[in-house]
Amino acid sequence: MSLEQLNANSFEKIIYDNAESCLVIFSRKSCHVCKEVVPVLEELQLQYRDRVGFYYVDVEEDKNLSQRFSLKGVPQILFFKDGEYQAKLAGAVDEDKVIDKIAEVLES
């Protein structure tokens, strides 16, 4: 199942107004590493249904968002809980790393 894409306005609503526990991957269509990481998240989101939201931001379509988080490269996975930024993972990451991070910051 593909990840729900966010734009600047839906980002505000979901991350902050709804204060969901979630992760957001910032990526770009032409990025090779992103093409490896995104499917990992697509798989994982099924395991976390109703507990953790999985979202996607295209940094080319929403430059403001990547600017706001001072992201210098992609992919980067940002973790949010209670409307607060918690942590991020950068670059090529595998399933275990994401699971560990979710446990550490979203389910602790």
Partner: protein, 682 residues
């Protein structure tokens, strides 16, 4: 011989950059009534000045004030120290371990006197003695308490209106006056730069600098000069949509909302725009989130609120931090809003407090350390609405903190420093004369800002007047003054690094060039015979001493003669620029000899001096300004309403304090007490 103390309690009120000449102008205008009272109750020269040490640079002069030794003797000869490895680099120097002269507070504490050294930017940190009588707060940078170590988030201007469709955050934007705070094209202003942007605070006073990293700054042209850099304010800009409030737990009818971003853009604070009983929108309430019951703060239009504590998110860790905020604009119909929020200071950062409990004491009894503002420069709107009021608020916090500590801890000697005037001077004093480069600014407006900063200082000094009735002796003094420049100067004598232009024109410093003849930011050491670094120093590129030395030691003397001759002959706009130039050994007459003073010491002549730091301590500028530092003393042991004609040297102040408080002279002291102002014949 043991001397009797003339006073039991002595407070030094240091005001960085306070110039006696412009002070007298403002006294005559009647806008400094508190200082007038100090003068009437005490002693000073008629012109209120003292003869500052050279160079007229902050840490050098504060160290002279603390030790009674000349900079050549104590070894703190500029903001930075020459790098031991490279002629073109400097290293951090606001470290007490670099000071080779004994500080007076070591003497007072050894004599059993409880002493507080508060943000003294010259050889105070790390604490210079483990004597429990010595308490020290910061002193690692000249700005404000904790500025170098507690900053968690930068200053921001937030603009919101109904036309903005999405939330935009642009960090550390250069905003020359007149560009406003609307971002029309984010990509146009945030293109990747060739070199990573460097934050001056981080570069100069950051962790790397403080642990000895080399700082390699070349002043290649006007754009690298401090007065040009500091004129242009930098701040984060947030543009937010503004709409009817929705999704809140509780919200009054007709409330509108917009969003503030903090924590480098990663934290969002929803904000309500609220009406008063007349139906006019006149305030905003900032919330942690839309479900929160109470706001973090309510801001009324035009009122600066300080001491606001909110969490800052640093890499996922929440830290409570203190901010000031001001609602700058709000349209009565609530459709457009603009506010400023200060940088955020970690309220628990105690690493520069000795003992650490002092911070807790101040936070609990006075309030968290307040941030100041560093946005202003050529933007008169920001200077008036933000920069000056933020400093005023900080001054009041500092006065309260000092008064609290003095009362509670029963200090007998207090050395304190305040940076408001100097900080403002670096931002806009040069705009108080209409120089061509800043022809779009208004000198009169900026002259009035100078006035405001002196009024602010007077208010601060007034907070200590009561101590005169409680047996205290008070000295009001500065390290140097600040002048309003008569001319835009050539690039020599700029303290921030290696000055290229004049030395390149004279053929001593040679820069490498690329295939197209474009000058590179790289010294050609094979052709460079001398460089000019820091405020007033020229170093010969000497074989056997310097890493890339090419000058034979046998030729050094003649080369120095030639350089000095060329410096005197150098003309800028037809005028001589260099005041004095002398060999290191001869500079003993100025107190600027010895291993930290280069091979040649020179000064920039009156007329071409910048704000301070490049010329003699007696130079004067436009708008009745000068680089002389102020000195006056009042209270127990000091003659009342007394004027002395004596020349008071900066090295005389520490021995005067030692005499008043009845302790021995600091070990390397080169001055003598100002006998004439003391109540007791000596």
């Amino acid at each position: 011989m043991k001397r009797e103390a003339l006073t039991q309690k002595l407070l030094v009120l240091g005001v960085d950059g306070m110039d006696p000449k412009v002070t007298r102008k403002f006294l005559a205008e009647g806008i400094m009534p508190n200082l007038q009272k100090f003068i009437e109750k005490g002693s000073a020269r008629e012109d209120l000045s003292h003869l500052g040490a050279l160079p007229t640079i902050t840490p050098a002069c504060w160290t002279t004030l603390a030790t009674g030794a000349y900079p050549g003797t104590h070894g703190i000869t500029c903001f930075w120290r020459q790098s031991p490895k490279s002629l073109d680099a400097v290293v951090y120097n606001m470290d007490s371990r670099n000071c080779e002269a004994e500080q007076l507070w070591n003497v007072t504490t050894e004599a059993g006197l409880k002493t507080l050294v508060w943000h003294w930017p010259g050889s105070a940190w790390p604490p210079t003695s483990d004597n429990p009588n010595l308490n020290v707060v910061d002193g690692t940078q000249p700005g404000s308490v904790n500025m170098g170590v507690a900053q968690l988030d930068w200053e921001k201007v937030i603009a919101a209106n109904e036309e903005i469709t999405e939330l935009i955050y642009a960090p550390k934007l250069e905003r020359p006056a007149g560009t406003g705070c609307m971002i029309s094209d984010l990509s146009a202003i945030t293109e990747e730069e060739e070199e990573p942007a460097t934050d001056m605070m981080e570069l100069w006073y950051g962790e790397a600098a403080m642990t000895g990293s080399e700082i390699r700054e070349y002043i290649m042209g006007p754009e690298n000069m401090e007065m040009v850099i500091e004129s242009i304010p930098h701040y984060d800009v947030v543009n937010s949509p503004l709409k009817n409030a929705e999704g809140w737990a509780a919200v009054p009818a007709d409330a509108k909302e917009f969003t503030i971003l903090t924590s480098d853009g990663i934290v969002r604070r929803p904000t309500l725009i609220l009406k008063n009983s007349d139906g006019i929108y006149d305030r905003i309430a900032i919330y942690k989130n839309k479900k929160a019951e109470k706001p973090i703060v309510v801001l009324e239009l035009g009122k600066m609120v300080s001491g606001i504590v909110d969490d800052i998110n640093k890499e996922g860790v929440l830290k409570p931090a203190c901010r000031s905020m001001k609602l700058l604009e709000l349209s009565p119909d609530g459709t457009s809003v603009k506010l400023w929020i200060s940088n955020a200071l970690d309220i628990a950062q105690d690493k520069l407090w000795h003992p650490k409990e002092l911070l807790k004491d101040v936070v609990e009894n006075v309030g968290p350390v307040q941030p100041v503002s560093l946005v202003g420069g050529e933007d008169a709107y920001l200077v008036e609405k933000v920069y000056e009021p933020a400093w005023d608020s900080y001054c009041q916090w500092q006065a309260k903190a000092l008064n609290h500590l003095i009362k509670k801890h029963e200090y007998q000697v207090v050395f304190s420093h305040l940076h408001n005037v100097d900080c403002a001077g670096h931002m806009f004093w040069h705009l108080a004369k209409n120089l061509e480069r800043w022809s779009y600014t208004d000198p009169e407006v900026n002259q009035n800002f100078i006035r405001k900063f002196y009024i602010q200082t007077d208010k601060y000094l007034g907070e200590f007047l009561h101590l005169l009735d409680e047996g205290w002796t008070i000295m009001i003094l500065a390290d140097h003054g600040l002048l309003v420049g008569e001319e835009f100067p050539p690039q020599i004598g700029e303290y921030g690094g290696m000055n290229v232009q004049v030395m390149e024109e004279l053929g001593y410093t040679v820069m490498k060039k690329d295939a197209n003849g474009k000058t590179l930011k790289e010294v050609d050491w094979e052709k460079t015979t001398a460089v000019q670094t820091r405020s007033n120093y020229i170093y010969i590129n000497l074989k056997g001493r310097d890493a890339h030395g090419i000058v034979d030691p046998a030729d050094k003397y003649e080369l120095e003669r030639k350089i000095m001759s060329d410096l005197y002959s150098y003309r800028y706009k037809g005028q001589r620029v260099i005041g004095l130039a002398m060999r290191n050994k001869d500079a003993v007459v100025l107190g600027t000899n010895g291993p930290q003073c280069g091979d040649i010491f020179f000064t920039v002549d009156e007329g071409f001096s910048r704000l301070h730091g490049d010329g003699l301590s007696t130079v004067e500028g436009a708008f009745d300004t000068s680089v002389s530092p102020i000195f006056l003393a009042a209270g127990t042991g000091i003659k009342e309403n007394f004027t002395t004609a004596r020349t008071i040297r900066q090295v005389d102040i520490a021995p005067t304090i030692a005499t008043l408080i009845g302790v021995r002279m600091p070990a390397h002291c080169e001055g003598g007490p100002i006998y004439q102002i003391l109540t007791e014949e000596m």
